[in-house]
Subunit: 313 residues, 4 copies
């Protein structure tokens, strides 16, 4: 039986997993990401350990890396990543030589799109957009059943389209980027700003410390009907829908899949997004609106997609 | 010799032309567009007259219609058009029967993209975006050498992506649409708001009547160094670049072509747009910026593209 | 017994009334306002008739005019009014001569502030701001028990402070003015945009015709719990509170009174405004927030204030 | 001869000075401000030393404190200050007892307004607004020759009126505050964002290190005609004028005085502000626009105003 390993190289953690052809995740291994300002060798050492732990001595048929960063069009290099030390060097080839196996590389949103396309919410759909809502926003464009990477491999960077002139500053150096208004960070910021102003179960969940508030607490509170948490989802969901309307105006896709950590909230997030889409999209009464559905794969989208990437190579 | 006729069905006028295979425009005929609230038969009568005038009794091998409106994915119908009376009826087939010849239909921006792709600024480029800046903004997406129309045939409606929350109301029913800030209308509005406040040659050009001010006057004044006209181009060009940055973040194309009436101003418009693109695009230092170039075809883009459409059918 | 008449000269109608010293309104008379593009004599004729009707032959001790327009600092002239034909001529003196009695003049918001100060929601409060929310927004500043008119008599034009850069165009020639987001017009626009998209009793109230929808219908529907109407009040109330926060940051008043037609909705409007004020105001935890209360006088604020004006002269 | 000392208690430094009745500044002493998270006693020790140094053993007739923070309406306490450790305690009385002399207290913008009113740009003008543009924006309201402090002593906090919905986050906890767009910080941010993108003498002035760029370098470069620096002043000046238009719509004052560090740039800042005021102010053609003039007192406005405060007590 063949052994294909997907590795999600995120800004805070590395997750490696054996993934079967049908997407079943078997053995997993985790490491903390050493950070951005360290030597790249430290990150690669963490990857090597995680892959070895999953392999457990078995021969490896291929490793697929899903990296949180800009991957070049040839899928050989991480050109730039806000949370990783790679800066354009030929990381795919180097790791393939080090590990003595086939290695494939793509950015994490593209890998997630591959997983949804082959095994998830977009099976049988040739064209769709994926929007991943985690700390920020990632994205991928599928046309004719293929991920479209663009000239530089940077297509799908929806999170950094400007939606508010002179708006909130963004880590990318811009201002008013979509992900400043529709993301896990935006969700938490919104909820945090209400603490101490309105009664909310979030006070208890975060122990009264606004800095301890994290996204899953807001989801939990919203699911229980907490007004402050629901207002945060209403705001973030509305912005999600406005941004999706912009994408639909440009691409006119038959389907939009929403993944990433915040999508675990399901309709708490997607219902306001669908309403905003219907309200904002040009010519809405004269067209079929694309369904906006939740991704099948949550935190494992990267490893599943990574494994599919190297299987399909 | 074969006779292919392109017809540009615009909101104010109909232009029909014999177009040779190399894009050369021969005989042309014009009619006023009867308007939106008239019977569709009046518009079709105007088209019939214009086509007959161009044909001059010769047999016609095909007519390609470039329509200012939403054309369905099958390219049979004008689903909706702000300035035309067609509302979803099967106009292509009806005219083909009436004229006894092959008829092809697409929206005007898609036709213009075809012209630029085959004979204009994008020859030899498989993937590019076209942005047409006239009264409003139109657009087209080319990937793999083909115009991508999307599920409803409405891909490329860039002009109605929202760039200012709660912004200027748009004819589409939305608010803050890109074309409210980057278009011929926006150019004239900007210049008009300065009349009587700062010295400008525009006062003379429009005879002191702000309502008589039109885009070409602003272009002429800007070319002559008029500060008010230059400021109008700086504003509109900046917004053009901000919107292009949003498109490039999403599509990562190797080329952006700018057509439409305002593009006649050339670098007066494109230079501020390029600066804004370089300033606004995510990851600009880590990527190749796409060239932003002027379209080859100006007011004849529709008829040339229409004729190409029916030739290629 | 003395006879003092207040006259509210609005954009659509003239209301004259005998007003007693305690604010009780006795006989009233109404006329349609002849419009802006007519001869001023027509408006003055309508005023004369209405005053005569109220007087019914009795001698008049004074008439106070509350005009919907900019009144000069000396309170002699209507400098400019969007819906009245007066353009800077000496209207107070002319009418005093014509009627052979004392005539006083001020703008309608200042008159309303006088009414609230002497007999209404601000009795006993030396300093307060009045915000009147009708078709647009008017305002008045009271300090030390006196209406402050400013250098040109134009203080209190809060409705035309810019709250959205590049925002909705305003009748004043500006863009993004507060009254475009917080006014009766904004309320109706918000509700109208949802018709046909979500179930709402407003469909029935306006007979399915969006153009027939008016503010009181939205108030009625909101009072009955209609979600679309409540969302319209939530939006307009939120913007009301944001604008009040701006005023409080500048003036730090002990009281804010909200009048005008929309204030008839009471807490439907004021509760979201209070929440937005608490959220938006700088240093809110370190200061006393001013109460935001509803004006006592509704549609009669102008005539009561006008009569007080001439009594106090 | 009497000895009155003004003390400017700023976020980064303490400046004490002997000030004569005509505003002449004699002996001065400086100390660094110990910071916000220290014991208040450390700040008071620094003040005591600076006052003693200026006094040089002479008996002191009074000390006036101009503090960078919210001062209560009774002028006894610093209620809240972003950069000082005082948090509502009775600082005026405590220092008066410690120093055995008369002590007066007000916030720095109010003191500056007093200086301009008595001896500066507003001599002879009973009503005016002061806008101080330094790191942020401060403000003061003068009516009838008196500083108006409002209910909580917080009138004039113009810098924290919201001008961009969902805009740049502000240290005050809000978002889109005016001072995020019109201040020394905004000036430097604007210039910094262009470094490395366009040729500018600022590269040399800051030694190529964007973090070393400070406001006076931008002023120097703009005075020499540098395009990047001029663009920064154009942006900040434009926002200054837009905000002043909002204040003028509300207050209709006969004069606006602009002080603070950035005002040293004079017309480089004020000319774009005046243009934006004329463009943005409601009813501009029907009214007298207030002159927008530079304050007489620059960095010494606080000590001069502080000394006047205690002289006038």
């Amino acid at each position: 039986m063949s052994l294909h390993i997907g590795v999600d190289v995120g800004g805070t953690k590395v997750l490696a997993a054996e993934v079967e052809a049908d997407g079943t995740v078997r053995r997993t291994a985790r490491r903390a990401t050493p950070g951005r300002r360290v030597d790249a060798a430290l990150v690669e050492q963490a990857l090597t350990e995680a892959v070895a732990e999953v392999a457990g001595g078995r021969p490896v048929d291929g490793v697929g890396l899903a990296a949180a960063g800009f991957v070049d069009a040839a899928r050989e290099r991480v050109v730039f990543a806000p949370h990783l030390p790679w800066q354009g060097d030929d990381v795919r080839r180097r790791l393939a030589e080090r590990w003595g196996t086939t290695v494939a590389l793509d950015n994490d949103a593209n890998c997630a799109a591959l997983a949804e396309s082959a095994l998830g919410a977009a099976v049988g759909v040739e064209d769709f957009l994926l929007v991943t809502m985690g700390t920020g926003i990632g994205g991928a464009v599928l046309l004719g059943g293929r991920v479209r990477r663009g000239r530089n491999g940077m297509a799908g960077e929806f999170g950094h389209t400007q939606v508010v002139p002179d708006g909130r500053p963004c880590e990318c150096g811009g201002a008013g980027c979509w992900e400043q208004y529709a993301s896990g960070n935006a969700l938490v910021r919104h909820a945090r700003s209400r603490l101490g102003q309105e009664p909310t179960v979030l006070e208890g969940l975060c122990g009264g410390d606004p800095d301890a508030l994290v996204g899953p607490m807001v989801t939990e509170a919203a699911a229980g009907g907490d007004a402050v948490a629901l207002a945060a989802f209403a705001s973030v969901g509305d912005w999600l829908g406005v941004g999706i309307a912009n994408l639909v105006a440009s691409f006119d896709p038959p389907l939009v899949v929403v993944g990433g950590g915040v999508s675990a909230a399901g309709d708490l997030l997607l219902e306001p997004a669908r309403r905003a889409l219907a309200r904002s999209l040009v010519g809405a009464p004269h067209r079929s609106l694309p369904p906006v559905v939740r991704a099948r794969f949550g935190p494992e989208a990267g490893v599943v997609g990574g494994a599919l990437l190297v299987r399909g190579r």
